[in-house]
């Protein structure tokens, strides 16, 4: 379901005055511009500012240094916000109730034709050019040289939260018990290093909305979806220039 600009403009907009700056920042961080509040302020509406297909630009189709080069493709059309992914993630990776390694955002448009809402799963984008690792003063967060995963060494974390502020995807939180910042690591310690082939979230998803993949393998489904032109594939907040490894598409 594609929503045109005129449809958005035709719907009743109650203005953006009532959105807290925190909410606004949260959405802007995701590459979504807040366009207004609908339905008495209970629903926050946002449109994606990322409409350019990022994945197929010349500079992206290059030799990837990682092997395997872990990535994820998210099919928004299939997400039903059952949150089995969140539950599986929390159980697998000891995520407390006040934090998340992955979450689901909702976009709702009361006056859209047909389907009026969609759900957008988000997680660490395991960027090729991460800002978080660049700003960390102790190298507690770093890019794994073999597989490209953005990792945490909790013993080195001093809790300065620079990484959290540097992340364009709001993918980090402070884990009180670990006394360190925590984030998605594609279940590296809990699953991949033990021979499992998928992350807990992808494994738990009942609709196949999340596909875990390998960008170093031209035969891999995610690689193939990213390197084709017929169907749009995009990333969140392309303008941040971090070259994410989490891609989005629709059915």
């Amino acid at each position: 379901m594609k929503i045109t600009k005129s449809q958005i403009e035709a719907s009743k907009n109650e203005g953006t005055d009532n959105i807290s700056s925190e909410e606004r920042r949260h959405f802007l961080k995701m590459g979504l511009a807040v366009t207004g509040v609908f339905a008495g302020g209970t629903i926050l509406s946002a449109v994606s500012t990322v409409n350019k297909t990022y994945a197929c630009t010349g500079d992206f189709v290059e030799h990837y240094p990682y092997k395997p080069h872990y990535s994820m493709l998210i099919n928004i059309s299939n997400c039903i916000d059952c949150e089995r992914c969140k539950k599986a993630c929390a159980e697998t990776n000891d995520v407390p109730s006040y934090g998340f390694r992955t979450t689901i955002l909702e976009r709702e448009m009361q006056h859209a034709i047909g389907q009026k809402r969609e759900f957008i799963p988000v997680l660490c984008n395991h960027c090729n050019l991460p800002q978080c690792t660049r700003v960390c003063p102790t190298k507690a967060t770093y890019k794994n040289k073999e597989n490209g995963i953005v990792m945490m060494d909790t013993s080195k974390c001093i809790g300065c939260l620079s990484c959290q502020m540097g992340c364009p995807y709001n993918a980090r939180y402070f884990h009180e018990e670990k006394v360190a910042v925590d984030k998605c690591n594609f279940c590296f310690d809990t699953r991949l290093s033990k021979g499992k082939k998928k992350t807990a979230c992808a494994d738990a998803c009942p609709t196949g909305a999340r596909t875990f993949g390998d960008m170093s393998d031209p035969g891999n489904f995610v690689y193939q979806q990213v390197h084709q032109l017929e169907k749009p594939v995009w990333v969140l907040r392309e303008s941040a220039g971090t070259k994410p490894n989490v891609f989005y598409t629709k059915a």
């Binding site: 299939n78 916000d81 006040y98 909702e106 047909g114 969609e118 939180y173």
Partner: protein
């Protein structure tokens, strides 16, 4: 009294107590199993689309909220075989249950909004 009036009266009387909570519209039912958050609205079906009670009761559904979800076959597979919502949501009479997932599925977020339970964490 005509039939529509009777219907409206019946609905008003039946849903007067509200089903699960404050923000939930009258006559709305939110299924929670097997997955959290599928909305069924009597308003949309009866008022907006003019359906009779008999189209669903009691062949497809009991007049008791959350009965269907006690059955093992309350699944997408079963819907696509023409059962439950799938009796109409076949792409012919109403949009196919294999499309527009988030029309029926309001998810955990939708459930929490509708029932006013557990505000989404604002802790980042």
């Amino acid at each position: 009294m005509n039939r529509t009036k009777l219907t409206i009266l019946a609905l008003a009387a039946l849903f007067v107590a509200g089903i699960t909570g404050q923000a939930l519209a009258e006559g709305d039912i939110i299924f929670t199993e097997p997955v959290m958050g599928v909305i069924f609205s009597h308003d949309v079906h009866v008022e907006e689309n003019g359906m009779d009670c008999e189209e669903c009761h009691d062949d497809l559904f009991e007049m008791e909220a959350l009965t269907a979800q006690q059955n093992d076959d309350f699944t997408m597979q079963s819907l696509s075989e023409g059962n439950y919502c799938g009796a109409c949501h076949d792409g012919d009479m109403a949009f196919d249950s294999d499309t527009r997932c988030a029309s029926c599925h309001i998810g955990v977020i939708g459930y929490q909004k509708a029932t006013g339970t557990a505000e989404r964490s604002t802790h980042h």
